[in-house]
């Protein structure tokens, strides 16, 4: 280290210049053009202008359809809607941060799985008084409820279920969809017999999507949560994982598969079954070279343990919630209009193939004539339920904890029994937080 003999005062002066540089930049930056930051802090609930936050406003396919709805509303109501969007995978964290900071106002589009997390922040308005005007189906209406309060108006209500490739089933000589676990397994073995590297069921085996196993666990009789008691680790959950591992070891499902891989395999005619949301038909067929694939895609009710059981499926879709404060009233009307106006919802279905949430919307000819959608609604969505973990703020960690243990069992690092016991313990700890 060298020294120059400069006084302490001068040294500190130099350091001070550095520190002032940072502060000065901040002061100078204050003159930079503003992006229109707003704060709610209560605000005028009667204001006609409000914000609308949605991840779909980023997406090339959905954006024009939503902008059309917004433009029509602005024209009719002589109001101004400021649109806000974040990527889907970042949406919840961004929204909660900005909701907590009072930056988010108006209407917010939410995945129904996130409703509990957001509702617990205490910033959402109770929409119970307007929900009755929408004519929503019971399943849809329930998807917007948390703790008995209607925080969200259902926009699109569907489910995640099994999709089959009819061409492959026909090739394997399978005439009817399997209805029980036993039949399903036999069907998969027949499909495996086709050879050619076919993965009979492109089930999720990567941690990112292993939450798909929950409906199978429920099929075997595990409730996941009973009141506040976590039931993962019970005999039913162990049976489910043992069966899943059996499929894995017999190569009836493949290792390292997530939703994207499953779509790719299915799109190339190398998988006969896979799990997806109702929108999967459009997404997967668009990626496929086989232009007739869409016609061959069929919704399949999840096989049950015993004949007569109700098929299990995970509810899936979006709701529109409203933030208390600035523009609350107009945002509520906008949410009601967007989710229940028959012309608006049927046009939205025509643009994006997302099923409406109202009885009238489902009866609209545009929707009713779409066989895939009507069959899906009847066979899968009808008995679909939300995840019992959605009400916990730690939902994402819970799903990951279970997924990691399921994967450990699949790769042989843990027995199904140990894996489920460990998962149950971890989930119980997370639920208590």
């Amino acid at each position: 280290m060298t020294t120059s003999g400069i006084s302490r005062r001068n040294a500190l002066r130099m350091f001070g210049i550095g520190a002032l540089g940072v502060a000065g930049a901040g002061a100078l930056g204050a003159c930079a053009p503003s992006g229109g930051s707003t704060t709610s802090g209560g605000g005028d609930t009667k204001s006609k202008n409000f914000d609308f936050s949605s991840w779909s406003l980023n997406e090339a396919t959905a954006k024009p359809a939503i902008e059309k709805i917004i433009a029509a509303w602005e024209k009719a109501e002589k109001s101004k809607i400021r649109t806000v969007s974040y990527p889907y995978n970042e949406y919840l964290s961004q929204l909660t941060l900005k909701l907590g900071g009072g930056e988010t106002t108006g209407a917010v589009h939410l995945d129904m799985a996130w409703l509990g997390t957001v509702a617990q922040m205490g910033k959402l308005a109770d929409l119970g008084s307007v929900a009755g005007k929408g004519g929503y189906t019971d399943v849809a209406l329930n998807s917007g409820k948390f703790d008995g309060t209607q925080y969200g108006l259902p926009w699109n209500t569907g489910s995640i279920g099994l999709i089959a490739n009819a061409k492959l089933l026909k090739k394997a000589g399978i005439k009817e969809h399997p209805t029980t676990i036993e039949e399903f397994e036999a069907t998969l073995r027949e499909l495996k017999g086709l050879g050619g590297g076919i993965v009979p069921y492109a089930a999720a085996t990567k941690v990112a999507q292993l939450k798909d196993i929950f409906p199978w666990m429920q099929t075997f009789g595990c409730t996941l949560v009973d009141g506040d008691k976590v039931t993962i680790g019970d005999d039913a959950s162990i049976d489910a994982l043992t069966w899943y591992k059996k499929l894995h070891d017999a190569k009836l499902i493949a290792a390292d598969v997530d939703r994207f891989d499953a779509r790719a395999l299915f799109g190339q005619g190398k998988a006969a079954f896979y799990d997806d949301a109702i929108i999967g038909k459009g997404v997967t067929s668009a990626q496929s070279k086989d232009k007739t694939l869409a016609e061959a895609m069929q919704p399949v009710p999840r096989p049950v343990l015993r004949a007569g059981d109700s098929p299990r499926a995970l509810l899936w879709g979006g709701v529109i919630a409203v933030v208390k404060g600035k523009g609350q009233d107009a945002a509520t009307e906008f949410a009601l209009h967007t989710t229940s106006d028959r012309a608006t919802t049927s046009q939205y279905f025509a643009d994006l193939a997302l099923p409406p949430s109202t009885t009238a919307g489902l009866a609209d000819p545009k929707v009713a004539q779409d066989t895939f959608t009507t069959e899906w609604t009847e066979k899968i969505t009808k008995t679909a339920t939300g995840s019992p973990f959605w009400r916990f703020a730690q939902n994402a960690q819970i799903e990951e904890a279970v997924a990691k243990q399921v994967q450990a069992a699949l790769v042989g690092k843990a027995s199904p029994k140990d894996a489920m016991k460990q998962a149950g313990k971890e989930v119980a700890d997370l639920v208590k937080r």
């Binding site: 040294a11 992006g35 990527p87």
Partner: protein, 306 residues
């Protein structure tokens, strides 16, 4: 060797032949060794090069593939069909150009601000002695150890209170929180290598301390300052989470912009995303090509004490 030195009767002939034989085999061995080491070195270079370039190659292949080819399973190393549609589609997207401009503005200002401030701080740390100097230095270093998520929430709250959210200022200041400590330490190392005698000579010639720093020290430290600036630029250019959180779509930079544009709830437009990533990385590549000699010089400066 022993026979050649202990048998004078054998004359020079056997000695020469032995020497030639020995020298020849040694040369051959040396040549063989050289060849071997060259082959090994080139193999290593090729393997490392292939490892480093594989993602770039995959980026290019995907960008040039039509959507159905990009999703082929198993993936093909050499595409059977090529399209430039993914690149031409970029030209039609005005929003991407806006993200690019925002990135240029924010990353450049971040780099300049970081270097300017770090120059004074680094100089102070290197050349002056005062109480608390070491603590301050370690404080600057410790600021690098905070998880970004912690800083983010704090910065969000502060910027919100000052009405700075959704401004370039918020982005520049937030980026500076993680670029400046690095720049300070880099520049301190470089100032350490500049002999005090130079400063004393300048002082004897009547230069003020201000002038000494700007006219004598700064030009000598220029390569290091450029290297520090490049590091700051790249870190600012690549940041995702600060830009996503602190700015709206009018002020957002490329990383969140690209994710917002191409990664959706149901699918990712990989070919378009790869094409966009290739195009937007060109400015950084060009900057590195022009400034790489400073980068290497700046990184190694201060590594050897004179």
């Amino acid at each position: 060797m022993t026979s050649t030195t202990t048998s004078p009767l054998s004359g020079t002939e056997p000695l020469k032949s032995v020497a030639t034989r020995t020298g020849g085999s040694t040369r051959r061995r040396i040549r063989k060794d050289l060849l071997r080491s060259r082959v090994a070195a080139w193999s290593a270079v090729l393997v490392i090069g292939a490892f480093g370039m594989a993602p770039v190659y995959w980026l290019l292949v995907t960008a040039l593939s039509p959507t159905d080819q990009a999703f082929q399973f198993p993936p093909k190393l050499i595409p059977t069909e090529i399209t430039f549609h993914n690149f031409s589609a970029l030209a039609e997207n005005d929003q991407l150009l806006k993200y690019l401009v925002n990135s240029m503005i924010v990353a450049t200002i971040t780099a300049v601000l970081s270097v300017v401030v770090a120059t004074y701080m680094g100089y102070s740390f290197s050349k002056f002695r005062y109480r608390g100097r070491r603590s301050l230095m370690h404080l600057v270093l410790a600021s690098q150890m905070f998880p970004q998520a912690l800083l983010l929430v704090t910065l969000y709250t502060v910027f919100s209170s000052f009405g700075l959210l959704n401004t370039y200022t918020a982005l520049v200041l937030s980026f500076t929180t993680f670029t400046m400590p690095l720049c300070v330490w880099m520049l301190k190392g470089i100032f350490d290598t500049i002999p005090d005698a130079l400063l004393e000579a300048a002082s004897i010639d009547g230069a003020s301390r201000w002038r000494t720093l700007h006219s004598i020290v700064a030009p000598l430290a220029a390569p290091g300052m450029i290297a520090a600036g490049l590091f700051a630029f790249v870190r600012g250019w690549n940041d995702f989470i600060f830009a996503l959180t602190l700015a709206d779509k009018e002020k957002q930079t490329l990383p969140p912009g690209l994710v917002s544009t191409y990664i959706g709830e149901f699918q990712t437009a990989w070919p378009e995303l790869m094409a966009a990533s290739l195009v937007v990385s060109i400015p950084v590549v060009v900057a590195f090509m022009f400034l790489q000699r400073y980068l290497v010089g700046g990184m190694t400066a201060g590594s050897v004490k004179s």
